[in-house]
Symmetry: C2
Subunit: 147 residues, 2 copies
C-alpha cells in the first residue's frame, strides 16, 4: 500500500482494507509449540474435548500475524515510531487454514503534549473470516506516529 | 510448579513468582522477522535513531514469550480452558539478552453465570528486569478456568 506520509494525513473514522492472510496448520502448530503449548492448540483429539471443539490458533498467534500483516502492508512504514499498549479481544477462535481479512480503523488521534512532532493514535485492528465475516480479533492499539 | 487443581483454590490478591527467562538476540531477531519487521526490532543502527535508542524486542514477542513461560510453568495446566482477552502495556522496552522475571497475580475471580463448572479470572502478568525491576510488560488477561 502507499505509505502514509504523516500522522496529520489521518483522521478519526478513516478505515483501510488491508487484504487477507491465512494461518496455515503448520504455522499454527509451530507458533503454539513455541509460545502457547496448550492441548487445544496442538492436538486435534484434545482440542475436540476443549471449549473450542476443534484445534484453533493461539490468540497470540492471531494477534502477532495481524501485526505482521499490517507492518508488511507498508501503510505505516514512514510514520510508526512504536507501540504503547493494546486492548485485545478474540470474539471467536480461528481454525487453521481459514482465510481472514484485516481492516484498520483510526479511532482516536491526538498530538503528543511532550513532543510536537509526534501524535498518539488509537488504531483498531479487526480481523474477520473471508467466509462469513466472523470476527476473530478485535484489537485497539496505541501507536506513536510521526507527524 | 505444582498445578492448581481448581479455580476455587485461587483468590484475589494471590501472587505467584514464576521465575525468570531471557529473550536472546537471535530469538528477538527471528520473532521480529516473522511478526514485527520494523527497523528498531531488526537493525542496530536504525534502532539507535528510533525512540528506543537501541534494538529492542517486539512487544508482541515479550507478550508471547511471557505466555509461553506461564504455560510451561504448569501452574494452570489443569484448569486453563482458554483466554478471553487482554489489556497490554509495555511500560519500558526490553533489550535482547536482558534477564527478566515474571509474577502472576489474581486480580479478579468470579463464577461463570452460564457454566457453573467454570470461573472467569483476571490475571495480571508482570514481567520486570532481574537487574533493577524495570517493568517491561504489564498485562491483565481474562482466563476461563475449570472449577
Amino acid at each position: 500500500m502507499t505509505p502514509i506520509r504523516s500522522a496529520d494525513a489521518l483522521s478519526p473514522g478513516q478505515s483501510f482494507d488491508l487484504g487477507g492472510f491465512v494461518l496455515t496448520r503448520a504455522e499454527v502448530l509451530d507458533f503454539a509449540r513455541r509460545f502457547d503449548p496448550q492441548p487445544f492448540h496442538l492436538d486435534d483429539e484434545a482440542a475436540r474435548h476443549s471449549i473450542f471443539g476443534r484445534l484453533v490458533a493461539s490468540g497470540l498467534h492471531t494477534y502477532s500475524a495481524t501485526v505482521g500483516h499490517l507492518i508488511r502492508s507498508g501503510l505505516l512504514a514512514e510514520i510508526n515510531l512504536g507501540g504503547g499498549g493494546c486492548e485485545l479481544a478474540w470474539p471467536a477462535p480461528l481454525p487453521p487454514d481459514e482465510p481472514v481479512r484485516m481492516t484498520l480503523t483510526v479511532e482516536e488521534l491526538r498530538h503528543s503534549r511532550s513532543r510536537p512532532d509526534m501524535a498518539v493514535a488509537k488504531l483498531r485492528y479487526r480481523v474477520a473470516t473471508a467466509r462469513d465475516g466472523t470476527v476473530v480479533l478485535d484489537a485497539l492499539a496505541t501507536h506513536f506516529l510521526r507527524r
